[in-house]
């Protein structure tokens, strides 16, 4: 007599659950109607050399994800926001995503300055629009308490000490610390200068600021000459590096001979060797992500990237193609882990899963702390050799 009652209760409970929709990850029978993510970065403009490779990697990640079944059978549509390294352009493009509830997240923006100028719009959206950046490293990106912010790369306060320590280990004596007057570069240069002052008081530091887009560095070069610097640290997103190192060379300061140069992520870009007519050779650059070629789990992705874009495509992929692929994986997995209700996935659920889940990426597992930062990250160090940026070592921060 008891069994029929239990069966009735189970049947009623099942109907009730079905009426409420699934609260667990969707199934093929309950697949989302439409899923979109956006890729945002400077895909054209002065930083296209770092953006193009990242966009290709994101496209590849989406293609691979869809090939494996997408989100419970629904293919993910990728929309592209080319912000041109311009916060106003970024805000205009993001507005389209904010108003479309099927856009569940952004891979990017790539530049810290763009993130910091637009983050309030993403956080203030209803529901908030999450993003996973592959390259924005300013501390403020995740330190302002915005739940939408996530990144797969290291922060400035991880990269800066690693850079400073590298110069200390290389016996630097007089370090010219420069920034390019941007949210990203000024903060990073300040961290490096402070680390050197705190940990290597015998090293003398001279601090200078270039302007974004500056091409005439003769005044600064003369200051470097007068200071008799043996190292130059230039926190820069890339465009200023080529004319600067050429003017160093014109003033008799040849990198690798009578001066050493350490740049940052934007300068981990082999095109600078050509655009500086070779003056960049022997320069070092650190990167807030490891070189994918040095990570065994990224080998298959590199093979697919070459198959998709050509055998020589990696040399033109820029410094963030690996982290861009990983960031796309994080966002797509968070979406796939989110429940489907009446054919829809909510951004709020995606945010919740970004906060709680562990994601498997080509650069290793990603698990976020309460701010949206990865707890364990690797910083890559590269050197300009021949026509490439060659991986020197990887530091885990």
């Amino acid at each position: 007599m008891v069994q029929p009652r239990i069966l009735v209760l189970v049947a009623m409970a099942s109907v009730g659950l079905a009426a409420c929709g699934s609260s667990t990850p969707g199934t093929a029978a309950n697949k989302p109607d439409k899923v979109q993510i956006a890729a945002e970065g400077p895909f054209t403009g002065d930083e296209a050399s770092i953006g193009e490779g990242a966009l290709r990697a994101i496209k590849l990640a989406v293609k691979d994800f869809n090939k494996a079944g997408g989100v419970h059978g629904t293919s993910v549509n990728l929309v592209v926001y080319d912000d041109n390294h311009n916060p106003q352009t970024a805000a205009t493009q993001q507005a389209a995503g904010i108003s479309d509830p099927t856009v569940l997240g952004i891979v990017g923006p790539m530049n810290s300055g763009v993130v910091l100028s637009t983050i309030q719009g993403l956080q203030g959206a209803n529901p908030p629009l999450p993003f996973v950046t592959e390259s924005a490293s300013a501390v403020k990106v995740t330190d302002q308490g915005n739940t939408v912010a996530h990144r797969v790369n290291a922060r400035d306060d991880q990269q800066g000490p690693a850079d400073a320590k590298f110069m200390i280990d290389k016996q630097a004596k007089k370090v010219e610390v420069m920034d390019a007057h941007s949210d990203y570069s000024t903060a990073l240069a300040d961290i490096v200068a402070k680390y050197l002052a705190d940990h290597a008081p015998t090293i003398t530091v001279q601090r200078d600021t270039a302007q974004h887009g500056q091409t005439d560095f003769r005044t600064i070069v003369q200051r470097i000459n007068a200071f008799k610097a043996d190292w130059v640290f230039f926190a820069d997103e890339g465009p200023e590096a080529a004319p600067f190192v050429q003017q160093l060379k014109s003033a008799g300061l040849t990198i690798g001979q009578n001066i050493q140069f350490l740049g940052t992520d934007g300068e981990d870009d082999a095109t600078i060797i050509t655009s500086s007519q070779g003056a960049f050779l022997n320069a070092y650059a650190s990167n807030i992500t490891p070189d994918p070629a040095s990570v065994p789990s990224a080998a298959d992705m590199i093979t697919r990237y070459k198959a998709e874009y050509g055998a020589d495509s990696i040399s033109k992929a820029g410094p963030f193609y690996g982290s861009a692929y990983a960031a796309a994986q994080v966002l797509l997995q968070a979406i796939a882990n989110s429940p489907v209700n009446n054919g829809k996935i909510s951004r709020a659920d995606v945010l919740s899963h970004l906060a709680s889940d562990t994601f498997q990426t080509v650069l290793g597992p990603v698990k976020y702390n309460s701010k949206g930062d990865v707890t364990s990250v690797a910083i890559g160090l590269f050197q300009a050799k021949g026509t490439d940026m060659v991986s020197v070592k990887s530091i885990t921060g």
Partner: protein, 308 residues
């Protein structure tokens, strides 16, 4: 004090070289203002187009750092392309964008000039290159460094200074020593009266735009050969600084623009060298404000017309 004395000569040379470029571009602003009393804010972008034309010619004849024809000939072709192309562009802008507005209120051509400026930047960004373009200067000009005492400057730095100053003197002679220059000054003084005196005012205006824009084109070439790069945004800041230089010198005054450019370049170099590189631009525009407060008419004061 020792630091200042040791570094002052070098920073002075740096400043004069930078300032000569400002002056070259400032001349275009001041010439047009002198004749038409309008601010041609597209002038900085004409300079940018000149730089791209030079880079384009270099790209045709230089491959992998090797020139297909003698380097001197390539540079000559670059000069013809940049000066000629920029000059014709200036004339075209005047004909299409400014002439129809010549008798409208003063705001209309000003806004049109800003529009032309944005148009030129956008078209180069979209159609030519959003990224900086290499000018293979290593293959085209000597990379030697000239040293005099404690002062050292690359060959192109000195060339920039010498060519700019030579062109400025040539323009000065043209404006103050030739019949056409007299016609220019007469037009600047009173356009209507100049017409009555038989001066072809339209022709004067066309030549003014041609000369000013050709100088800007030469500026673009010199910039490309000195810094080995051109980009679509390069005319923006230098255009504003050249405008500031023209105002400091006394807008409408040819010699004032030359002195204003050199003054601004040296000021920037001194501030960067001895105060702070962060405040170079701040001081440049502070100088503009101070000069305008003390001498609203600029350092040289008199417009082009009164120097006859």
């Amino acid at each position: 004090m020792d630091y200042f004395l040791q570094n002052f000569p070098q920073q002075l040379v740096n400043g004069l070289e930078t300032g000569s470029l400002y002056a070259l571009i400032a001349l275009g602003y001041t010439l047009v203002y002198g004749i038409l009393e309008m601010l041609n804010f597209a002038h900085g972008d004409v300079y940018m187009v000149g730089g791209f034309l030079a880079a384009g010619v270099a790209g045709l004849f230089v491959h992998n750092g090797v020139t297909a024809i003698p380097a001197g000939l390539v540079v000559a072709l670059m000069a013809i392309a940049s000066m000629g192309g920029a000059g014709l562009l200036g004339v075209a802008i005047e004909r299409v964008a400014y002439r129809p507005l010549r008798n409208s209120n003063r705001l209309a051509p000003l806004i049109t000039a800003i529009g032309v400026s944005l148009f030129l930047e956008s078209i180069v960004e979209v159609q030519v290159s959003p990224a900086p373009v290499l000018v293979p200067s290593n293959a085209l000009v000597p990379q030697t460094v000239i040293r005099v005492g404690s002062v050292a400057t690359p060959f192109m730095g000195l060339t920039l200074l010498v060519v700019s100053v030579a062109l400025m003197f040539a323009l000065d002679v043209f404006v103050f020593r030739t019949q056409f220059g007299t016609a220019m000054r007469a037009t600047a003084q009173d356009r209507e009266a100049a017409t009555f005196m038989g001066i072809d005012v339209d022709r004067v205006i066309v030549v003014t735009f041609l000369a000013g824009s050709a100088l800007a084109g030469m500026g673009g070439l010199l910039f490309g050969l000195t810094f080995a790069t051109v980009n679509f945004f390069m005319g923006f800041l230098i255009g504003i600084k050249a405008f500031a230089a023209a105002v400091i010198g006394g807008i409408g005054n040819v010699r004032g623009a030359m002195v204003g450019g050199l003054f601004l370049g040296v000021l920037e170099s001194m501030v960067g060298g001895f105060i702070s590189t962060s405040f170079q631009d701040t001081f440049a525009f502070l100088a503009l404000i101070v000069v305008l407060l003390i001498r609203p008419q600029g350092l040289f004061g008199q417009p082009l017309t009164d120097r006859a």
